[in-house]
C-alpha cells in the first residue's frame, strides 16, 4: 500500500474497500487509517487484508454486537422504543448467563458449545456446532455445501482440544421444486442444480469421513431461489478433561492437514456482502474429505497423548484468522515460506489468506514437536511448524526477509468500531383466512407439498448408520417410512446413555412476525426432543440466524424481534444457548434488482437420553391403542401449509405461551420415561392432519379420530371449522399413542394438561377423521403415503 493511504478521504477509503473486496465501511476504514497514522506508516496490503478478514461480518458478527435503537409499532399504531447496548449480549447471551446451568461447560467462547454428557459424574462431554455456508453454496453448490460440512466438522475438532465427530445434521432452504426449479436463479444455476449439488456435497463429505448424518430439515420456498440456505452441524464426543485449551509464549505454531492453494481467497469478506454477479472463481472452495479424515484420526491420537496445548480450525480468513485468534493474548510470528503448498507460484499474501480446506492450527510445546510431526508423517498427513507464539502482543508475518504484517494484536481484535444501528418493525395488516377447501383433497395436497413431503430422496443418500450409534434413525417404523421427530444416538456401546438431536425452523412465519417465527422454531426443536423421550431438563440449543442486509431497518427489526423471542422463550424453558452463528446479507443483486430472504432462525437442539432403549418413535404400534391429543389447537393458520395450499397469506401466525406449554412437556416426558407412551409425534408443518397421516403409514396401521374431542380454543370451537382444527399449526401439541393398559397411568401423569383421547389405532388401513360437524372423511394409507412420497423432484 502506498503512503497515500494515510491521506485518503472518506469516499476514497470506501472506494478502496470496494475495489479490494474488503467489505469494510467508511467508519471501519477510518479506524484503520487513524491507527496507522499513530504508527507513522500506511498498512501493507496483507495487513489491510488481515484486518478485513478479522473484522468481517462473518468473523466478528458486527450486527449482533451492535448497539441497536429499536422502534416498533403496536396494532394501534403506537410507537415504542427499546435500546439494546449489544443485541446478542442483551438477549441470547443474557438468558444463557441468567440460567447459569452447571452442565454448560463451555459456551460462546470456543469453536463449539460444550455440555456435560452425564448427570452422575461421568467423564463425557458433547460439543455441538452448526454453521451456515450460504453464499458459497449459491455459487458452487457441491463445493460450497461440502466445505460447509467440512468446516463445521473442523470446528468440532477444534473445540477444546478436539472432540470426535459422531453425528452430522443438515438443514436446507431452497427455491421451489417443480417447473420453477428449472428456472435459472441469479447465480446462473437452476434451483434443481443447486438442490442436487448441495445434497451431493453434504453426502460426499459426511459419508466419506465416516460420520452419520442423522438430523435435518428441508424447506422449499420462492424466497430462497436466489439465496439458498445451507446449515451444516456436527456433534462431537470428548472427555471432559479435554475441554480447556491454552496458548503459551514459546509454543510452536503447527499447521496440519491440507496444503495451501489459491482456493477460497476472500471467502470471509465475500460472505459478508450482498451477492452479485461476476464473483471470481477463487472464492470457491472444493473439499477433500479423505484428507480431513486422515488428519482427524491423527489429531485424536495426538490429543490423547497430550502433544498439543491449543488448537483451532483454519476456516474463514485462513491462517490470518486462525493464528490471529490463537495468538490474541500472546502474539505470534509466522514464517510463510514454511507453509506446505499445493503448487509453486503462490505469492505470500495468498498463502496467508487462502481458505484452502482441511487444515488445523495447533499450539505445540517445543518438546513435543518432533513426536507430533512424526505422528502426522507416519499417517501421510502434511504438517509443518510455521512459526511460534511470542510474548510481544504483535502479529508478525514474514516470508523470507520480507515482513508482510507487523500489527498490534489488540488493534486487530479490539480495534473494530462498534456499530450503532437502527431497527424498525410494525405488524403486517391482518388478512382474513379464506374459506376452506374439501378436506379429503386438502390433506393429500398438503402431504404432497415438497416442504411436508418425504425427504427420503435426500436423507437416504446419507449414511446414518456408520459408527453404529444410531438408535432412533431419520426414518422409523417397521418399513422405515415414518419421519422421526429427532434422532437418538447411543454414546458408548457398553452403556445405555444417549443423546437426541433435533431442529426447529419456520422461516415463512417471518412474513407475519419474526418474534413468533423464532418462538416457534425453539418450541418445535424442543417438542421434537420431548417426543423421542429426551430429558427436558438437559436441553441445550443453538441459534443460526440468517437474514438480508441489516442496514435496512426493517430487516434489522426482524432480527431484533427474533433475538428478543430467543431470550423470552429460553428463559421460561430453561434452555441455554450454547453456540450460534449468523449469516447476513443474504440478498442477491443482479441488474439493479435486490431480493432478500425472509429472516430465518434455525434452532438446533440436543438433550440427554438416560436410556436409549426407552426412546419413543412416531409410528403407530398396535391396533386398539388410544390416540391422545396433547396441547390446545387454536385458530392460527398464518404461514400454515394449508394456507399455502389455499394460496393465501391470511390468518394469524402461531404464538406461544411458554408458561403454559413447558409444564405439559415435563409431564409428557415423565409419562414417556415411565413407559406409558407407545408412540409420540409432534404436530408441526401441516398440523394434526399431517401428523396423523405420518403416524398411520409410518406404523402401517389405520386410525379413527374424532376432532370434536380435540382440546380447542374457545374461538375455534365457536367457529367450528374442521379444516382449521385439522391443519392449524399451533405450537405446543403432540399426538400420543397409549396402550389401554397404560391409559390410566398416562392420564394421571398428564393431570392438568390439555389432553383428550381422540380415538384409537385401527387395524384396517384407513384413516378416518370425524369433523367438528360430525361428518367423517376417510383416506386409505396407500393414498396418504403415495401423496407424501410424490412431493420430491420429478
Amino acid at each position: 500500500m502506498s503512503g497515500d493511504f494515510l491521506s485518503l478521504s472518506s469516499d476514497a477509503l470506501v472506494a478502496l474497500s470496494k475495489e479490494r473486496g474488503l467489505s469494510l465501511n467508511a467508519e471501519e476504514m477510518a479506524a484503520i487509517q487513524a491507527h496507522f497514522k499513530t504508527q507513522g506508516r500506511s498498512p501493507t496490503d496483507p495487513e489491510l487484508e488481515t484486518l478485513a478478514q478479522t473484522w468481517s461480518e462473518h468473523c466478528k458478527h458486527k450486527t449482533f454486537r451492535a448497539a441497536v435503537r429499536h422502534i416498533e409499532k403496536d396494532e394501534n399504531g403506537l410507537e415504542r422504543g427499546r435500546n439494546y447496548k449489544a443485541l446478542l449480549k442483551d438477549t441470547i447471551v443474557k438468558v444463557t448467563e441468567d440460567l447459569n446451568k452447571p452442565w454448560c461447560l463451555s459456551v460462546f467462547k470456543d469453536n463449539a458449545g460444550i455440555v456435560d454428557a452425564s448427570s452422575d459424574g461421568g467423564t463425557d462431554a458433547l460439543a455441538f456446532k452448526v454453521e451456515t455456508h450460504n453464499h458459497p453454496s449459491a455459487l458452487e453448490p457441491y463445493g460450497g455445501a461440502g466445505t460447509g460440512l467440512g468446516g463445521v466438522i473442523r470446528d468440532i475438532l477444534g473445540a477444546g482440544l478436539g472432540a470426535k465427530p459422531i453425528a452430522n445434521s443438515d438443514v436446507f432452504c431452497f427455491g421451489p421444486l417443480g417447473e420453477k426449479a428449472e428456472k435459472k436463479t441469479g447465480s446462473g444455476l437452476s434451483t434443481r442444480r443447486i438442490v442436487n449439488g448441495v445434497v451431493s456435497g453434504v453426502r460426499d463429505y459426511g459419508n466419506r469421513m465416516g460420520i452419520p448424518t442423522v438430523s435435518g430439515a428441508v424447506v422449499f420456498d420462492d424466497d430462497f431461489a436466489e439465496n439458498p440456505l445451507v446449515f451444516c452441524g456436527t456433534l462431537g464426543l470428548m472427555p471432559k478433561s479435554t475441554i480447556d485449551k491454552s496458548v503459551r509464549s514459546g509454543d510452536i505454531i503447527v499447521m496440519a492437514g491440507g496444503r495451501v492453494g489459491r482456493d477460497g481467497i476472500h471467502g470471509a469478506t465475500f460472505s459478508s456482502d450482498t451477492l452479485t454477479t461476476g464473483i471470481p472463481s477463487s472464492v470457491v472452495q472444493i473439499g477433500n474429505p479423505i484428507v480431513q479424515k486422515k488428519m482427524m484420526d491423527v489429531l485424536l491420537v495426538a490429543r490423547d497423548r497430550g502433544l498439543y496445548r491449543g488448537i483451532t480450525d483454519c476456516g474463514a480468513g485462513g491462517l490470518s484468522s486462525a493464528v490471529g485468534e490463537m495468538g490474541e493474548k500472546t502474539g505470534a510470528r509466522v514464517r510463510l515460506e514454511k507453509v506446505p503448498l499445493k503448487y509453486a507460484g503462490i505469492v505470500p499474501w495468498e498463502i496467508w489468506l487462502s481458505e484452502s480446506q482441511e487444515r488445523m492450527v495447533m499450539a505445540v510445546p517445543p518438546k513435543n514437536l518432533e513426536t507430533l510431526l512424526g505422528l502426522f508423517a507416519d499417517e501421510d498427513v502434511d504438517a509443518a511448524a510455521i512459526g511460534e507464539f511470542t510474548s510481544d502482543g504483535r502479529l508478525k508475518v514474514m516470508h523470507g526477509a520480507d515482513t508482510l504484517v507487523d500489527m498490534d494484536m489488540s488493534f486487530l481484535h479490539d480495534g473494530v468500531p462498534k456499530r450503532s444501528m437502527e431497527s424498525r418493525w410494525s405488524p403486517p395488516p391482518l388478512v382474513e383466512f379464506p374459506k376452506g377447501a374439501p378436506l379429503k383433497k386438502s390433506l393429500l395436497a398438503v402431504l404432497a407439498q415438497p416442504t411436508v413431503a418425504s425427504k427420503e430422496w435426500v436423507v437416504r443418500q446419507y449414511d446414518h448408520e456408520v459408527q453404529g450409534r444410531t438408535v432412533v434413525k431419520p426414518f422409523v417404523g417397521p418399513t422405515g417410512v415414518g419421519p422421526s421427530d429427532a434422532s437418538v444416538l447411543q454414546l458408548h456401546p457398553s452403556a445405555r446413555r444417549g443423546v437426541a438431536l433435533s431442529a426447529g425452523l419456520n422461516p415463512h412465519y417471518s412474513r407475519w412476525d419474526a418474534y413468533w417465527m423464532a418462538a416457534s422454531a425453539i418450541d418445535e426443536a424442543v417438542r421434537n426432543l420431548v417426543a423421542v423421550g429426551a430429558r427436558p431438563d438437559r436441553i441445550a440449543i443453538l441459534d443460526n440466524f440468517c437474514g438480508g442486509n441489516p442496514w435496512r431497518p426493517e430487516i434489522l427489526g426482524d432480527l431484533v424481534r427474533a433475538a428478543q423471542a430467543c431470550h423470552d422463550i429460553a428463559r421460561v424453558y430453561g434452555t441455554p444457548f450454547i453456540s450460534g452463528k449468523d449469516s447476513l446479507f443474504n440478498e442477491f443483486e443482479v441488474a439493479g434488482r435486490r431480493k432478500a430472504i425472509p429472516t430465518t432462525l434455525l434452532i438446533s437442539a440436543l438433550s440427554l437420553v438416560d436410556d436409549v432403549a426407552k426412546a419413543v418413535t412416531m409410528d403407530f404400534k398396535k391396533p386398539g391403542n388410544w390416540v391422545f391429543a396433547v396441547g390446545e389447537t387454536r385458530d392460527e393458520m398464518g404461514g400454515s401449509r394449508y394456507g399455502v395450499h389455499l394460496g393465501t397469506r391470511g390468518g394469524a401466525v402461531p404464538r406461544l405461551t411458554p408458561e403454559d406449554t413447558w409444564p405439559v412437556y415435563e409431564k409428557l416426558s415423565a409419562a414417556i420415561a415411565a413407559g406409558d407412551v407407545a408412540s409420540c409425534h409432534d404436530c408441526s408443518d401441516g398440523g394434526l392432519g399431517v401428523a396423523l397421516a405420518e403416524m398411520c403409514f409410518g406404523g402401517g396401521w389405520g386410525a379413527q379420530v374424532d376432532l370434536r374431542k380435540l382440546p380447542l380454543s374457545a374461538e375455534l370451537r365457536r367457529e367450528g371449522r374442521t379444516d382449521k382444527a385439522l391443519f392449524s399449526e399451533s405450537n405446543g401439541r403432540f399426538l400420543v399413542e397409549v396402550a389401554p393398559a397404560s391409559r390410566k397411568a398416562f392420564l394421571s401423569a398428564m393431570d392438568g394438561a390439555p389432553v383428550a383421547a381422540l380415538g384409537q389405532v385401527r387395524e384396517p388401513s384407513t384413516l378416518t377423521v370425524v369433523g367438528l360437524d360430525g361428518k367423517s372423511t376417510s383416506w386409505t394409507l396407500k393414498e396418504l403415503e403415495k401423496s407424501w412420497r410424490s412431493g420430491g423432484p420429478a
Binding site: E140, R193, G261, S281, I286, N288, Y343
Partner: protein
C-alpha cells in the same frame, strides 16, 4: 511427455450416467442427440513414458472390472465418430481433490515422475446436435461455469 487418459465403462456395463444425461438433454429440448456416453478424463503431466501413462491408467484411474482406459498424447484431439465430445475441466486455481489423490496414488505406486494432474469429465454426444447447442446444454446442466470450462470437439 504429457498424456491424456479417458476412462469409460466397458460396453457390457450399463452407462447410467450417460443415460441420465440423455434424459436431461431431452427434457431440456436439445435436438439431435442420440446415444450419450459419459466418462472421466485425466491429464497427466511430467516426464512420463507411454508405459508409465498406461500403468497409471490401468492400475489407478480405471476399475479393471467395469471400466476401460484409453491413453493418448496430451495434444491428441479425439472426436467420437458420428458425434461430438464435450470436455469439462476445472478452471485453473480451483481445488482438484481428485487430481491430488491421483498424484498421491502415483507416488505410492512408485511413479515419482508425475508432477501434475488435471481431472475432468467427458461426454460423447452421438447425433447431429450443433456445438453451440451442446455448449449451452453443458453450461446449464452439466457444469458450473464459475469453476469449470467446457470444450466441444
Amino acid at each position: 511427455m504429457n498424456w491424456r487418459v479417458l476412462v469409460h465403462l466397458k460396453p457390457t456395463v450399463a452407462d447410467h450416467h450417460g443415460d441420465h444425461i440423455r434424459r436431461e438433454s431431452r427434457l431440456a429440448g436439445l435436438a439431435g442427440v442420440g446415444r450419450v456416453r459419459a466418462g472421466h478424463a485425466y491429464e497427466l503431466h511430467g516426464d512420463l513414458s507411454e508405459k508409465d501413462a498406461r500403468f497409471l491408467a490401468d492400475r489407478v484411474l480405471a476399475d479393471p472390472v467395469t471400466q476401460e482406459a484409453a491413453v493418448f498424447p496430451a495434444d491428441h484431439v479425439r472426436r467420437p465418430q458420428g458425434g461430438r465430445l464435450a470436455e469439462i475441466w476445472l478452471k485453473q486455481g480451483v481445488a482438484d481433490p481428485v487430481a491430488d489423490t491421483v498424484r498421491l496414488a502415483a507416488r505410492d505406486a512408485g511413479l515419482e515422475a508425475l508432477t501434475a494432474v488435471r481431472s475432468g469429465q467427458v461426454v460423447d454426444f452421438f447425433g447431429i446436435a450443433t456445438p453451440a447447442a451442446l455448449r449451452r446444454f453443458c453450461e446449464d446442466h452439466l457444469m458450473n461455469p464459475l469453476v469449470q470450462t467446457v470444450e466441444i470437439r
